[in-house]
């Protein structure tokens, strides 16, 4: 057990944490935008899975991982269109439509995957490598943890202040937050609630798709059926635990990623404990986190409530 606390291992754990944070962070920040606009997209898990599969398919058929990234984003946009159509236009209950999307994507990706690899060895690709930032990555301890990561990881972290700026410092952000609190206030001025909610959903789903793409391209070289393994759900929990604020979300995602990283290292080190305990940590932590929340909630008032005139 004490091997866990050696310097090299600790650095590896934290560096792993930063990497593991990336896909969940993309999804969580994207979903935050969607939720602040009043739409509770429960289909994050499915959107992420679609992004992963799309990235795999494009990476192995074209050989270009950057094309795969683009494709993952596009798949997110497509899923966003479906989500927005169901929740904003048809006003189906948000929870049910999201669950439906998760189930649909699980089935579709499995089906396409089986067809794709039918009768041959599973194709693989070369994923992303780390890009060390010159100079900064030489800093002792922090260097390898923060500044020797993949490019998309840097982007994910940059996205947090970017989204914060979007939400709190732009005209558009004020309107978007208004959607989550009282859409009628915009409708009564003749501004289109529908158009704005579509935009919020598309942006959120695009980012989630990107997260799914990175989950594929930045971690392994081949697709597995349930590769997302609940990370989309963790993104949603992170928003609740982070009280719908960008910095809170960042903190919650960090906790989940740290637990997962510790768990992976425990498995690799072959310590004498059932590894399932550590695999289970993030999920257990999320329940405990939610149980402990007693403060004033920032949950958008109209979150999950379809807007009718």
């Amino acid at each position: 057990m004490t091997e866990l606390f050696s310097e090299a291992i600790l650095i590896s754990i934290f560096a792993g944490t930063v990497r593991i944070m990336t896909p969940i962070l993309f999804a969580a920040i994207g979903e935050l935008v969607t939720q602040r606009a009043g739409i509770w997209n429960m289909g994050v898990e499915g959107t992420m899975l679609m992004g992963s599969f799309t990235a795999y398919f494009v990476a192995t058929s074209t050989g270009s991982i950057w094309l795969a990234v683009l494709a993952a984003v596009m798949s997110g946009v497509m899923m966003g269109l479906v989500t927005a159509f169901m929740t904003v236009t048809m006003r189906v209950d948000h929870f049910i439509s999201g669950l439906g999307i998760n189930l649909l994507v699980a089935g579709l990706t499995l089906y396409w995957f089986r067809i794709y690899i039918a009768g041959r060895a599973q194709p693989t690709f070369d994923g992303f490598n780390s890009v060390a930032i010159p100079g900064l990555s030489q800093i002792p301890y922090l260097g390898p943890i923060l500044f020797d990561q993949r490019l998309l990881t840097y982007l994910a972290f940059a996205a947090v202040p970017m989204i914060w700026f979007l939400l709190y410092r732009t005209r558009w952000g004020l309107e978007l937050r208004c959607l989550g609190e009282n859409p009628k206030a915009l409708d009564i001025k003749g501004l289109s609630v529908v158009r704005r909610q579509y935009m919020a959903v598309l942006i959120g789903s695009a980012m989630t798709g990107l997260g799914g793409g990175f989950l594929m391209l930045g971690f392994s070289d081949r697709f597995l059926a349930d590769i997302t393994a609940g990370r989309g759900w963790l993104a949603i929990v992170a928003i609740i635990a982070g009280n719908w604020m960008p910095r809170g979300v960042l903190a919650a995602v960090f906790v989940f990623a740290l637990l997962e990283s510790i768990g992976t290292h425990v498995q690799v080190l072959g310590l004498n404990m059932p590894h399932q305990i550590f695999l289970a940590m993030p999920y257990l932590a999320s329940i405990l986190l939610l149980m402990g929340l007693r403060r004033k909630t920032n949950q958008p008032v109209k979150l999950g409530i379809p807007y009718f005139r």
Partner: protein
């Protein structure tokens, strides 16, 4: 002089109802024109059409003599029409300034609050409005929230302002302030359409257009009109405006106390103190009126007295037995009936049928079950009896309650609570949003219960009604009882003073 705004033969339909039926109406520059009518007469619908929120199916609108078509409120705002809604459309978690600015078309993407602040400050100065622009709307008093709504319209350079039932939620004092602001607006050449059903406000306007069941009955100068004439136009027959003064119940024996409340306090989950040190007593055969504008703790008081909320301090005694802290089920079984102010949200299951709603809360009672199962026969029988007794206009007991009008839905609640309760009746705004005929009926039923020996707590925002019907009146302000008076000896001004007296300072 041509009218500033005019609609000709305007018709607006909704599924199943014609809300506005060939309405012709005009607004002259500089005037205050009142739209007068009962609930459901079509006033709000008409104003929503004039504001561009609804698109009429027939007729047309003219602005400055030119026909216009408002496809959305944006078009109406562009020609200078602004609207202050009866139910405010504000974001509680935004500041005053953010609420005013959101959705207005500033140039570019940046959220520029500086220039907006300067403009709003100027407006506040002009109209003598004292408001902290950085305060969160959720922390403002109701009257102040209305100022934010008004500022929203003025910020967009409104020259025609539509005010929808503006004094419905204001104390007499706040209403005066509002009309002072309206005067200021008139002086600045803003024309006003005032929607109201209160006679006192109507008479302050220049002209009145009376609507009844979606159609215009007539337009008169207020100088030529009297309350009687207007009421007759509104209702279509001669009526006493409200239920007239009733004879007090037989004072023979000393009245026995039914409900005793001692030093009850309640603190909401948010930490806000909703009720502070409430003490009151209601006796057999007595109606205690509860005066005060909504939001001063009335709702919490009703919920504490029916067991829905548990008080943090104090004692409640019912017929001599201590019931503090018991759940609502126990209060119900001890004969307490509750008529909530939000009838569809708190008193009914909208998707259930009338007869199913009749047994809401009593579904496990022997009267409606046989063995472990519900008895469809008993439920149906009970439903039919109630529909008959209370003259509820409905095709059958199996009709879902969300198909009923507000008045008929209220009758369902009345039927249920009247027949299941036996000692205490709690009625919170029982006549809100109902038309005159149903209002008369509801009050007469409540008085009948009082005469049978019930104790009644009746809250209403219509002070004249309370004065006419109650035996005593308790005045609530800011979660406290600030005074209890004898209805016979009191008046609207006195109660109004009590309501605001506690607020000063």
């Amino acid at each position: 002089m041509s009218p500033l705004l005019k609609c000709v033969d305007l018709t607006k339909r909704f599924p199943g109802v014609v809300a506005n039926d060939r309405v012709t109406f005009d607004l002259m520059p500089g005037e205050v024109h009142c739209l007068f009518g009962e609930n459901g007469a079509g006033k709000s619908t008409l104003s929503s059409c004039l504001f561009g929120y609804y698109q009429p199916e027939g007729g047309h609108i003219e602005c400055d003599g030119i026909p216009v078509k408002f496809n959305s409120p944006r078009d109406a705002i562009a020609v200078g029409i602004g609207m202050v809604h009866q139910h405010f459309v504000l974001v509680a978690d935004f500041t005053v300034l953010e609420n005013i600015v959101v959705g207005t078309h500033a140039k570019g993407w940046k959220l520029d609050l500086k220039s907006a602040r300067a403009r709003v400050d100027a407006l506040c100065q002009q109209y003598d409005i004292n408001l902290d622009l950085d305060a969160y709307v959720r922390d403002l008093a109701v009257g102040q929230q209305q100022w934010v709504e008004i500022l929203k319209a003025l910020y967009l350079d409104a020259r025609i302002l539509i005010l929808d039932e503006p004094t419905a939620v204001l104390t007499p004092d706040e209403s005066e302030r509002l009309f002072h602001i309206i005067d200021q607006m008139c002086q600045r050449h803003i024309s006003i359409i005032l929607i109201s059903h209160k006679m006192s406000e109507v008479m302050q306007a220049d002209r009145v257009t009376v609507l009844r069941k979606g159609a215009v009955v007539g337009t008169v100068e207020t100088a030529d009109a009297t309350p009687d004439i207007l009421t007759k136009m509104m209702v279509g027959r001669d009526v006493a405006l409200r239920v007239s003064r009733t004879n007090p119940a037989d004072q023979g024996d000393v009245k026995k106390p039914v409900l005793e409340v001692r030093n009850v306090s309640y603190v909401a989950a948010s930490g806000k103190s909703a009720l502070t040190d409430i003490t009151l007593t209601i006796h057999r055969g007595e109606i205690l009126g509860l005066a005060g504008v909504s939001g001063n703790g009335q709702k919490e008081l009703f919920e504490v007295l029916s067991g829905i909320l548990v008080p943090n301090a104090g004692e409640i005694t019912l017929d001599g037995a201590t019931v503090t802290g018991m759940p609502s089920r126990d209060y119900m079984q001890r004969g307490v009936g509750l008529i909530p102010d939000d009838r569809f949200r708190e008193g009914l299951i909208p998707e259930f049928s009338v007869q199913e709603n009749m047994i809401l809360g009593w579904q496990r009672d022997d009267a409606y079950t046989s063995g472990p199962l519900l008895s469809a026969a008993k439920i149906k029988e009970n439903g039919e009896a109630m529909i008959d007794a209370f003259q509820i206009k409905v095709p059958s007991g199996a009709t879902p309650v969300n198909h009923l009008s507000g008045g008929n839905a209220q009758k369902v609640i009345l039927a249920r609570e009247f027949s299941q309760s036996s000692t205490l009746l709690l009625a919170n705004q029982p006549t809100r949003g109902l038309d005159l005929g149903v209002i008369e009926y509801v009050y007469s039923q409540i008085i009948a219960k009082r005469d049978q020996g019930y104790a009644v707590l009746l809250a209403s925002e219509e002070l004249e009604d309370l004065l006419n019907i109650s035996d005593r009146i308790a005045v609530m302000s800011d979660g406290k009882i600030v005074g209890i008076v004898n209805a016979q000896d009191s008046s609207v001004p006195e109660i109004g003073q009590l309501m605001t007296g506690a607020q000063a300072a």
